[in-house]
């Protein structure tokens, strides 16, 4: 009984409390050898007793015991490893970043000022140098090297001193008199942004060839004056600086808070993002990642939906396990755990798979933020130690913020000898060169630094000899050559013979690295261009990628032409990005040439690729000519059409209009493009445009609707009567299109027609549609028509719709409120109105005058807000009590049901699946204190995560859109609204765009819940990410599904066409998104059932991305009664799932689940792991 109850209690949210309170008791009993069941019983009693005590202390907070021993006891480490405390406060306090010097000393920047200097205080942050002088694995000496710093966030020893990030500047500090303290302080660079202290420049690392790399995050806008001109970076990115030549460059752009960067054995860059959601990111020169700053094309991370990570290390050396070599280690600091990722080469990039955690802790103050393999081969983990990590969301002066502790942990493999680090300081140049052969990256990197500091004159003669004497049979021969090449690059000596030998290496990794060196010497080596041209033809895709990156530097048409030659071999996402960027940047050079010589760039495939990459009318014109001749590959069709929409001129649109009538197969696409061109640029064709009228009679609805829309766009008022007639059609879609066209026609008669249709003696459906158009034409008229309509009997969903229309129109609320103030409407209508106000308006709007007026007007008509069941306004005492109730009695299993019932996943993803309008909640519980979660749910606008800044766009027609910016091009902005729809808005239509305070999450979302439901919901959220059933597993479960609506239409369609009609693209089917539970299971009782003649079915589908052709393994928890299709092709279903050979590309797998024979209550499908499969696959988490 004891055991069962204990489990239940733990489940019920007791775990944290249980752990902390029971530990002492447990150890006490253990000493007396008392059996565990007895202990459990006692513990329960103890908790029950203690619980009442807790209740009495209304404001008790969960501040963990800061004793390092206590922290250690909460850690769970992977088998075969052990962990010890290397250093802790006061030897090191509030550590932020660490790096080693060649003597094996650990340099750490620390900030007790963080998050904000107190007024009048002198900055007093410090640099600590930690030493383990006796080699016992713990630091025994700590020196304060520098003091007086202002929230320093990066540190890197080198060049005889140390580089430090100090708010707006990078400092170089040096100790010249040997007393261990800096006495010289030089400003290296200045002008870095400080808009947000947890985004300040950070993550200092030496690159393979002696350049200083560092990152900044999304809120940091930097403007640096350098002798080579000003360098600006507004938003996230990676800087690259050469302290010798003073050249500063931007290496990569984007990401939200990229607090991790490391170089692999071959100089490849990997980044992690402490606020992004794509795990490991593979970077190369020019790489651009997700970021609100926006780019037409970006590269995605390798682990979509994975936790946000801070710090990064690439495993190397003889101490850590062989199978870990080259693995990436990083920190899920929110969930207090250390993750490991395994990389596999894929095309010109990598795939990454999460392995077992190295360590996890249930102590919320354990915050691993940096990780590094030390000189002894052990893994060192920097623990910022803080129960609070929210930067902006929790008050800067919150007493729970820790300002005095900090730890560095050391993880070693049990029974494995440590590495004896080479003595590098004072070693001869030859000894340093020999250290480049060592398997430990630590030793090689430090040796390289020392060689660089000695300078070219001293080392070059010895280096040349060393290279000559290298053993060609050594398996590491080519790597040794590469290290030597990097050394020459770091001392700015161009060694062409050495470069050539690495360019010709057998190992493609060496060749790729050499091409990057070649690119940096592009203007210093004769024949560099020819060498890059060869590299662009290399059989290894990554070598080609580096060549394409390097060619970007030549400002010539020829370079673009060479780059395009990579199209002769298979492409992938990384190569495609790189080529797109190169071609785009070189456009001023090649486009001129191409006009003189149409065959300049080579075959039509290359020409089309180049032309579709740029936004210029003359390029679009050439592209379209090519398309008309049938010389553009089919796969580029959509790109061609979006180029026309974006940048096409009148003559291109004329061509497109001709295509509408000459190329029936893609008629619909062409029509859409014409509409897009009008929406984005206000552009229309002028050649016989009346012929569009013929298509209004089309028997295809889609064509008919497009034609109606274009008549409106093109203002063909002569067809007004026909459009008016169509507005009275029975098909709602056609009605909508016709009304919208009338509105676009914009002449008085059309406006009048809309007004007439909004009035009485029309069907209520027509009135609603007409009013929706009317709001942007005549708001007052729309309001009075609405009030009239509300007096009649109309459907609830139509009323909701109307209110939503006014809410999203500039001044709409005020005008509607005015009209309602003078007119009474039935109480039930007013009730619905108030419900809509509660549902649709973001919290920050409630206090505005117009909203208050609307609420009062609706109340005057007798309207009442739906009764709040769960009080939404809680005092801090009430929150405290609620928190205790949650910890004591919440049922997270029931909580998950509530979460799903509220459709939270439309906006919040779990494990990457779900909407991206709100933050991913996968580790919210492990990351945030419970009171924070409660407040976030009750008052969503109180705390906003970075990257979730609400934008308000007012269009020229007065309509208002609220949403989150997704991307931006020269002419358009893409926003995502609460429905998860991505809306493309032409900039020409934008009147204003502002960041507004607040959240899209409606307040009052939980007001319909009972207190128990609310408690369970928060209980569930506070469990998310903690070890146990509510942590997103690294197993690749299908999480993002579509399901077929269970209505009569669907039933009829499938009955008529057979079950297989659900497979493939069938436009007539209505699919809706559904998402798995945290566990990966998709509950069957939430799926619509379609009652077919052949039985009762639920229809679901999902996508997988196959990166290389091969057998794909889909493992089902139960496959009874399931039929499956890949596209339209039927798949064989075995008892444990599907095994099928799939081609490269995106695949839609559809399943028909016979509800009469399927006998589990949920469906769980695992995508087989890459190492067991010939095919490499990736989960698709976005629809």
């Amino acid at each position: 009984m004891g055991k069962m109850n204990l489990e239940k209690l733990k489940f019920a949210g007791f775990k944290g409390l249980f752990h902390r309170m029971s530990r002492t008791v447990w150890y006490f009993f253990k000493q007396f050898g008392i059996k565990s069941t007895a202990i459990n019983l006692f513990v329960i009693l103890f908790i029950i007793l203690f619980n009442s005590l807790v209740w009495a202390q209304g404001n008790l907070k969960d501040i963990p015991n800061p004793d390092p021993q206590n922290e250690l006891e909460h850690m769970h480490i992977e088998d075969g490893f052990k962990i010890n405390l290397f250093a802790s406060d006061p030897m090191v306090v509030k550590p932020i970043q660490m790096n080693w010097d060649a003597q094996g000393r650990l340099w750490v920047v620390s900030s007790t000022i963080y998050p904000h200097l107190k007024p009048g205080d002198e900055p007093h942050d410090k640099i600590y140098v930690l030493e383990d002088t006796n080699g016992d694995g713990t630091a025994d000496k700590s020196t304060i090297f520098a003091d007086g710093l202002l929230t320093p966030t990066g540190i890197l020893p080198g060049d005889g001193g140390v580089y430090v990030a100090n708010a707006t500047e990078i400092l170089f500090l040096k100790d010249t008199d040997g007393d261990g303290k800096a006495d010289v302080r030089r400003r290296v660079l200045n002008g870095f942004g400080t808009g947000d202290v947890h985004h300040l420049i950070h993550t200092f690392r030496w690159g393979p060839a002696g350049k200083l790399y560092f990152n900044q995050s999304i809120y940091i806008y930097s403007h640096i004056e350098t002798p080579f001109g000003p360098k600006d970076l507004e938003g996230g990115g990676v800087w690259q600086y050469d302290p010798q030549t003073l050249r500063l460059n931007i290496f990569a752009k984007g990401l939200i808070n990229p607090w991790g960067h490391r170089f692999g054995r071959w100089g490849q860059s990997f980044l992690t993002d402490g606020a992004g959601r794509e795990g490991i990111n593979y970077a190369f020169p020019g790489a651009t990642f997700t970021s609100w700053a926006g780019s037409e094309k970006i590269i995605h991370g390798l682990n979509p939906g994975q936790p946000k990570e801070s710090g990064l290390e690439v495993v190397s050396g003889r101490h850590l396990p062989k199978k870990w070599q080259g693995n990436l280690i990083t920190n899920d600091f929110r969930a207090n755990r250390i993750n490991r990722f395994v990389l596999t080469e894929q095309g010109s990039g990598y795939t990454s798979k999460q392995a077992d955690d190295i360590l996890w802790s249930d102590d919320v103050a354990f915050r691993p933020v940096d990780v590094s393999v030390g000189p002894d081969g052990a893994l060192y983990v920097l623990d910022w130690y803080n129960p609070i990590i929210q930067h902006g969301e929790v008050d800067f002066r919150d007493p729970r913020r820790d300002h005095q502790h900090g730890r560095i942990w050391r993880i070693t493999a049990k029974d494995e000898p440590l590495v004896n680090p080479p003595k590098l300081v004072g070693a001869s140049t030859n000894e340093l060169l020999d250290a480049l052969k060592l398997p430990e990256k630590w030793s090689r990197d430090q040796a390289k630094r020392l060689l660089k500091e000695r300078g070219a004159e001293k080392i070059m003669p010895k280096l040349k000899k060393w290279v000559k004497n290298l053993d060609e049979n050594d398996p590491d021969y080519e790597h040794n050559l590469l290290e030597a090449l990097w050394v020459t690059q770091s001392v700015h000596v161009v060694d062409k013979p050495l470069l050539t030998s690495v360019l010709n290496a057998d190992n493609h990794n060496a060749r790729a690295a050499a091409v990057r060196v070649l690119s940096s010497w592009y203007d210093k080596i004769d024949g560099a261009r020819e060498l890059l041209a060869n590299a662009a033809k290399d059989k290894a895709p990554r070598v080609r990628l580096e060549a394409v990156n390097g060619l970007r530097k030549y400002h010539s048409a020829d370079a673009a032409k060479i780059a395009l030659s990579v199209l002769d071999q298979p492409m992938d996402n990384f190569l495609d990005f790189s080529l797109w960027k190169t071609v785009r940047e070189l456009e001023p050079y090649w486009l001129k040439k191409l006009k003189e010589n149409p065959n300049y760039l080579g075959d039509s495939n290359k020409k089309a690729y180049a032309l579709k990459s740029v936004n210029k009318q003359e390029a679009v014109s050439m592209l379209l000519q090519l398309y008309v001749k049938g010389q553009v590959p089919d796969k580029y069709r959509n790109d061609v059409l979006s180029s026309v929409a974006r940048s096409g001129g009148v003559s291109e649109l004329n061509t497109l209009l001709d295509l509408v009538f000459n190329d029936a197969k893609y008629q619909e696409k062409y029509l859409n493009t014409l509409d897009q061109a009008f929406q984005q640029q206000g552009m229309k064709p002028d050649n016989d445009i009346d012929r569009i009228n013929n298509l209004v009679s089309s028997d295809k609805n889609a064509i008919k609707i497009s034609a109606i829309r274009l008549i409106g766009d093109w203002k063909l008022v002569k067809y007004r009567q026909r459009i008016i007639a169509l507005a009275r059609n029975s098909d709602e879609d056609i009605q909508k299109a016709a009304l919208s066209a009338l509105s676009s026609l914009g002449d008085d008669q059309s406006k009048k027609a809309i007004m007439t249709m909004a009035q009485k003696n029309n069907s209520s459906q027509l009135r609603v549609l007409a009013i929706k158009e009317l709001v942007s034409i005549n708001l007052r008229n729309a309001a009075s028509s609405t009030v009239d309509l509300l007096k009649d009997d109309i459907g609830e969903s139509e009323i909701s719709d109307l209110f939503a229309t006014f809410i999203s129109q500039k001044n709409g609320i005020q005008v509607l409120a005015d009209d309602l103030g003078n007119n009474k409407i039935p109480k039930d209508m007013a009730d619905i109105g108030l419900r809509e106000v509660q549902r649709k308006l973001p919290s920050h709007r409630r206090e505005d005058d117009d909203v208050k007026a609307l609420i009062n007007a609706l109340k005057d008509s007798g309207g009442e807000f739906p009764p709040e069941r769960m009080s939404q306004q809680l005092s801090s005492d009430q929150i405290n009590r609620l928190e205790l109730q949650i910890k004591a009695g919440a049922d997270p299993v029931k909580g998950e049901k509530v979460f799903r019932k509220l459709s939270c996943m439309n906006c919040h993803a779990l494990g990457g699946a779900g909407g991206h309008i709100g933050p991913d909640l996968s580790s919210i519980g492990a990351n945030a204190p419970t009171d924070y979660i409660i407040t976030s749910v009750l008052q969503p606008s109180a705390d906003i995560k970075d990257g979730y800044e609400l934008n308000r766009v007012v269009k020229n027609d007065g309509s208002v859109l609220m949403g989150y910016p997704v991307s931006e091009t020269e002419s358009t902005v893409v926003m995502e609204n609460t429905n998860g729809d991505k809306l493309t808005i032409p900039k020409s239509q934008i009147d204003q765009q502002n960041v507004v305070p607040g959240s899209l999450m409606p307040p009052g979302l939980t007001s319909s819940l009972t207190r128990d439901e609310f408690v369970n919901l928060i209980g569930y959220l506070s469990k998310l990410g903690e070890p146990g059933d509510f942590r997103v597993s690294k197993t690749r479960y299908i999480r993002n599904w579509m399901t077929l609506a269970g209505d009569d239409d669907m039933t009829a369609i499938i009955n008529n066409n057979g079950l297989k009609s659900i497979a493939g693209d069938n436009d007539n089917l209505q699919w809706n998104s559904v998402y798995s539970e945290v566990s990966g299971k998709l509950p069957l009782d939430e799926l619509p059932v379609i009652h077919l003649n052949s039985g009762n079915f639920s229809i679901i589908s999902f996508k997988i991305n196959v990166l290389s052709r091969g057998i794909v393994d889909l493992n089902f928890n139960n496959a009874k009664g399931i039929r499956a299709w890949n596209g339209q092709e039927s798949l064989k279903v075995n008892p444990n799932g599907i095994e099928a050979t799939l081609n490269k590309g995106m695949h839609t797998i559809s399943l028909a689940v016979n509800r009469d024979s399927f006998d589990s209550n949920s469906i769980l499908i695992q995508l087989g792991e890459p190492e067991n499969n010939p095919a490499q696959t990736r989960l698709v988490l976005d629809n």
Partner: protein, 432 residues
Amino acid sequence: MKNISSVIGFTCFFLLMVLSKAYSYNFKETSLQPFQLHDGDRVVFLGNSLMEDDQRYGYIEFALTTRWPDSDVTYRNLGWSGDNVFGKARSYYTPNPGPYKLMIQQLKDANPNVVFIAYGAVESYKGKKGLPHFRKGLNQLIDKIDSIGAKSVLLSPLPQMDKRTSIENLNAHNNELENYTSAISDIASQRNLRFIDLFTPIKHLNNKVGLTTDGIHLNEMGYYYLTSLISSGLDLPKRNWSIEINLSNGKVNTKGAEVSILKMDNDKTQFQVKDHYLPLPAPPLTQDLEVRLPPLGQNFNKSVPPFIEKQVGDAHRIKITGLKKGCYSLMVDGAQAASASAKEWAQGVVIHDGTSFRQAMQLRYKILEKNKQFFHQYRPLNRTYLIGFRTYEQGQNYKELKELDMFIRRLEEQIAELRVPQKNDYQVVAVK
């Protein structure tokens, strides 16, 4: 006796001032009023890193502060690295208020009477084709400053002084900088504003080594030198003084200070000196490295490169003739400030130490400290949360920025006391 000498000193000084004014007027052919700051004035420094970096050294502000010791003039440094006339570097994640609006807001908040504007260096990389845009922007900025009732003083950019880039690139870029300098000069004469050409004198310096950290950013020595260019650009007289005492005939000749002789004797010559302006202490001699200022009370480095000393020329010089052979020390307020032989005294000894130097150093510290506090206030870390669009999260802490006013005010009171030269006791005594 003492009255006569000080009168002579004053007269000489006055004549010098008048003469130098007349001299410069003839050359510039403008109708500019003499540059003068008044009680209650607020001076703002606006520009790119050229202005921002003075916050670390305080030289420009020190040079002006000490010129009007009896007037309460306060200073705000709004320089911003990477900035241009459109305030481009003042950008934040939030589109509102936008960098230009923010710059204007910062200007208005500072409530200036005089604004020193130093732009053009960042713009110069756009070359000739960027000039019209620059001109337009600078005029628009001056219009704005006019509209808030302040007077603008225009500074040229510096030449680039680095050997790390190729000489062709260096010359090409300096040509651009020269074009921008002319553009600023033109605007100044069109609008009848004071223009200070920093470009030409530095370009013509033979030895530019040791003035910058990277060819474009001045170091401490660079700012020390720069103050002399700014002072002469404002037609302010040099702040050096000299005292000549002839023991044989009792004649005293002084320039640039108020001097009263108390005793004249071979073993002990005693006099009181009150500087007209506090001296400008030279920085320690360093090449690339910025060394932190020496702690108070420590002797300053006296080895200023001669070419700079000549240019700045802000020394104190005492000449005593008629001393008997032997060694004599100068004691200022009881502390030794110099030591020399009778022969050296007869030739004149340059003084780098003494109470007024220490007072000047203290004043510079207070200026630096005040600038730091102001920086934390006007350009705070975490702006996004304290003032930006996420104010609803940390807006409650905005009051902390307001509290900085108190610290700034207290420091400005201390500055007001320290900027006034004191009467110091000088004694030249024989070393036994």
